[in-house]
């Protein structure tokens, strides 16, 4: 049995599950809770579960679609399904999803870091520094990026969850009441708005050619279910603790409630103080993981679309565009507008473009079968 050869030309289903997990988590565990709690209030937890199930279904559709075109990514088969122009539009749409998420994460991350760690440093400096490191990672081959993601999955996430769990000390269970939401519509709406938290699962459309030979579709769907299960647990942990510590009213009036929650934790008799710094230290690698993967995906999409052999020039080409994009989101209103736009773009991609692709692909195959007699 051979393992770990030169460039990775395949990945195991569990590796795909880890990649999906780390790509989805990203910055949103700190950036998104406020808007979700504001929308769904006490039902935010239920919205997280609804969102998880919804986007898991979307992922399953993507897996079915990708399985129909083995050895190809959406960049190659979209033009065959939608025609040359339609296919190009779908590819641009797909790439735009990553681009918009990346610039929003950079913006949010820059704000948080300057707010909590360097109040006198301009966010541009913070963004630029992380952008350089992400670009360094994104110009590596996929095998290297996958190893980094696994490394971070074990190291950064364990520290992040450990630090976050200390906030249970301040949890007031009565703050979680009522458990059942009054406003069902808001909860369902909240479920849709959790797209920002789960976004990133679209990467399966690019990575399936590396996995499909390793496992059947059924097993892959089950393994991906485990990945989404972990995501739901993690997001529930974040939302429930925020509400339990701050109450719904307290949380929706704060920009970054998760950091206020952790800041309020005191561990007397220990060496540890200002836990929000520890959380941020663990959160930066988590954000980096998502950003580096998305930047790689963007470079890969461009490379495949223009039929080139190397994604690196594209990553380097995209670096200044990402930087300018993240700087252009210069206030919270613009950011929230971009956030909403990206959400609808993402939802439309998952629930219109992908099912449509599947239907067209079935129709085209049936037509081809009929033509053959």
């Amino acid at each position: 049995m051979m393992a770990n050869l030169e460039a990775k030309s395949y990945m195991t289903p569990w590796q795909l599950a880890i990649v999906v997990f780390v790509t989805c988590v990203g910055a949103q565990i700190l950036l998104s809770p406020r808007s979700l709690i504001a929308d769904a209030e006490h039902g935010a937890g239920i919205s997280v579960v609804i969102g998880g199930v919804l986007f898991y279904s979307a992922t399953c559709l993507m897996l079915v679609l990708a399985k129909k075109y083995p050895d190809e990514t959406i960049v190659e088969y979209a033009p065959r399904i939608f025609g040359k122009i339609g296919g190009t539009l779908v590819v641009i749409w797909f790439n735009m999803l990553f681009f918009l998420q990346v610039i929003q994460i950079f913006y949010g991350m820059g704000k948080i870091i300057t707010f909590y760690m360097f109040d006198r440093t301009p966010p541009e400096v913070v963004i630029l520094a992380l952008l350089a490191v992400c670009a360094y990672c994104a110009v590596q081959d996929w095998g290297t990026i996958m190893r980094i993601q696994q490394f971070m999955f074990f190291v950064a996430y364990s520290i992040l969850i450990l630090v976050w769990l200390t906030s249970i000390l301040n949890l007031q269970p009565e703050n979680l009441l009522p458990l059942w939401p009054v406003n069902i519509k808001a909860v369902v709406g909240g479920g849709l708005s959790t797209w920002n938290m789960y976004a990133g699962y679209e990467c399966v459309l690019l990575l399936m050619p590396l996995v499909y030979r390793q496992v059947s579709l059924g097993s892959l769907i089950k393994i991906m279910g485990a990945s989404f299960g972990c995501l739901i647990v993690l997001f529930l942990l974040v939302i429930v603790i925020i509400i339990g510590v701050l109450t719904v009213d307290g949380a929706k009036n704060l920009l970054y409630p998760a950091l206020i929650v952790i800041r309020s934790v005191e561990l007397p008799g220990t060496f540890i103080e200002r836990l929000e710094n520890y959380l941020l230290i663990a959160w930066i690698p988590v954000v980096f993981d998502t950003l580096a993967a998305m930047m790689f995906f963007m470079g890969e999409i461009c490379m495949r679309h223009w039929r080139q052999a190397d994604h690196r020039p594209w990553v380097l080409f995209l670096v200044p565009i990402i930087y300018v994009g993240s700087i252009l989101l210069d206030n919270q209103q613009v950011y929230e507008m971009a956030n909403k736009f990206t959400m609808w773009l993402g939802l439309a991609f998952s629930f219109i473009a992908v099912p449509l692709s599947l239907s067209l692909s079935w129709w085209q195959k049936r037509k081809a079968g009929t033509g053959c007699g």
Binding site: M1, E6, V126, A129, Y136, R147, I148
Partner: protein
């Protein structure tokens, strides 16, 4: 006068004795002499041309059956080499020549096994002389029937013969034969097998490699009776022609790995190769990286253990530190003592070693970041105490840390370079300066001294010296990042180093990536921790050994 008239010219009676005729004949003789000289030169040139046509371009000349001519050619090659001995002797009436390098060849062996058998026939004219004369018509017959040496090789190539002499072999040539015999009589002054200098094991073997390649191979062979352990010897270095042995276990090594190692060694274009470290730089994929991408060892037991995990060993003649590939972070963090102590203790030591590696790189940077940018992360009493200490020193924390680093590096360098008798004094002065004087002088605050001392001790605890040097190197960029961006900079530095280490590959294996690869989590049993020996039934998957099971029912055959 009359008497004078009686004397007549000889030419009057013998016209051919006339002066004109003599001059004419002399001129003719001179012409013939000149022509003969020219003719001789032309013949010489023709012979040289013919010889150069016969000799292949890679050969300096070809041997002929004329011993005198062969000797002359060899003397030209070895001119001004006073340590080359040309010993001419008589073997059953035929001239023979023995050429060897004084100091590299065992002369008593030559006397016993070459000179004595050949010359004894000349001394006593017996009927055996006739049979020897028959044997002397073919070098192969001489080697098979006359020479008593253990290893004799018949050579036709002049280049191979010259190489053989330079390696310490003796060359036997017999008049009438165009072939030469290379007799293995290598014997030179060398260091005895001693204890390892840098990889001492508390309960392990005390044998270490020395500078002789054959001794080093023997140290490996002596520990195993496995015929699957293969040794390929190559010669590299245009001038030094250094012998390099590639060792591997044929039914374990990952397919293609040995070929790749040999390909890279074959691509080395260099005039001299004096040590394994210079070869190492030709083998690695990222020569600019500070991290070692090959493992160096002076322990034969360690090399053998690595060979049985599917890795490849490279032994270089003239150096006691040999190379193992592929090399990953995991193998660099393993020490021979890990296997001689209780598994639970070995696991704890491995954990502390990993923690030490982290501290060796990041501790000064974390100190600078926390003190300069995030003092709020410290308990209030400690923050006040640090502020008080820092108020006594004039420099910012970054500058203090850099000064301490420079001081530490200087002391370490001085201790390494000084003669052994002076290192104790240098250590004491260093300790005194760092521990006491700089603090009393108000240049550095005592907490930083503690931090830097902890860092230094952490880097000393690394099993690989090269890896510890790499950790020392990475401290400085980390300090710069910490001074510019505080803990954010430190985290970015951690990420950059992680990316670099995951992107590094040693013969296809990821340097760090294998550690947390979900496919290779089974390897944790002998990497992050060390399980009891009876649970280590499988080889590390990381190196892709053909037979994953160490002991089993497949008799060492590759598993399909």
């Amino acid at each position: 006068m009359k008497k004078i008239k009686c004397i007549q010219k000889l030419s009057k009676h013998l016209p051919e004795a006339s002066l004109e005729m003599s001059k004419k004949k002399l001129a003719q003789l001179q012409l013939i002499t000149t022509q003969s000289t020219e003719f001789s030169e032309e013949i010489g040139q023709i012979i040289a041309q013919l010889r150069s046509v016969a000799a292949p371009s890679s050969e300096p000349f070809i041997f002929t059956s004329e011993l005198q001519e062969n000797e002359q050619l060899l003397r030209v090659v070895f001119r001004d080499c006073s340590d080359i001995e040309f010993r001419i002797f008589d073997a059953a009436g035929k001239k023979a020549l023995l050429v060897y390098l004084k100091g590299m060849a065992d002369t008593s062996n030559l006397e016993r096994n070459v000179l004595k058998p050949l010359m004894s026939y000349t001394a006593q004219e017996t009927e055996n002389t006739a049979s020897l004369l028959h044997l002397l018509t073919d070098m192969k017959l001489v080697a098979e029937n006359v020479l008593g040496a253990a290893s004799v090789t018949i050579l036709a190539s002049a280049k191979a013969a010259i190489d053989a002499v330079m390696t310490g072999n003796a060359l036997l040539m017999i008049d009438g034969l165009a072939e030469v015999a290379s007799i293995a009589v290598i014997k030179y002054v060398k260091r005895e097998i001693s204890a390892p200098y840098n990889e001492y094991a508390l309960q392990g073997s005390d044998e270490a490699f020395n500078e002789a390649i054959m001794d080093n191979i023997a140290l490996i062979r002596r520990r195993t009776r496995d015929t699957n352990l293969k040794v390929h010897i190559m010669k590299i270095g245009e001038r030094t022609n250094t012998a390099i042995a590639v060792l591997y276990v044929a039914n374990l090594v990952k397919p293609g790995l040995v070929e790749e190692v040999e390909r890279r060694i074959g691509l080395i274009k260099k005039d001299k190769l004096l040590d394994s470290a210079s070869i190492d730089q030709y083998l690695v994929d990222h020569p600019w990286s500070p991290f070692p991408q090959t493992q160096m060892t002076e322990r034969p037991d360690k090399m053998l253990a690595a060979l049985y995990e599917g890795r490849v060993g490279i032994i270089v003649d003239g150096t006691p530190v040999e190379i193992l590939v592929p090399c990953t972070y995991n193998v660099l963090m393993q020490a021979p003592d890990d296997y001689t102590m209780a598994p639970i203790i070995a696991s704890l030591i491995r954990f502390s070693r990993n923690a030490a590696a982290f501290l060796a790189v990041y501790l000064p940077a974390i100190y600078v970041a926390v003190v300069s940018y995030h003092p709020g992360m410290l308990p209030t009493t400690m923050a006040i105490s640090i502020a008080e200490l820092r108020s006594r020193t004039p420099f910012p924390s970054f500058l203090e840390a850099i000064m301490m680093e420079i001081l530490l590096e200087l002391i370490q360098e001085a201790i390494i370079r000084l003669p052994a008798k002076l290192t104790g004094a240098a250590s004491m002065i260093g300790a005194f300066i760092i521990g006491n004087t700089v603090v009393q002088a108000g240049l550095i605050n005592p907490l930083l001294v503690v931090v830097i001392a902890t860092t230094a001790i952490s880097s000393y605890s690394m099993p690989s010296y090269n890896f510890s040097m790499a950790l020392r190197w990475t401290r400085v960029p980390m300090l710069i990042l910490a001074s510019m961006l505080g803990l954010y900079g430190v985290i970015l530095g951690v990420l950059a180093i992680t990316i670099h280490l995951c992107s590094l590959r040693s013969f296809g294996e990821s340097y760090l990536g294998g550690m947390f690869n979900v496919d290779l989590l089974a390897d944790w049993k002998d990497s992050v921790v060390r399980l009891p020996a009876k649970l280590l039934t499988r080889r590390p998957k990381e190196f892709g050994a053909q037979d994953q099971i160490r002991i089993g029912d497949n008799d060492g055959q590759p598993r399909s």
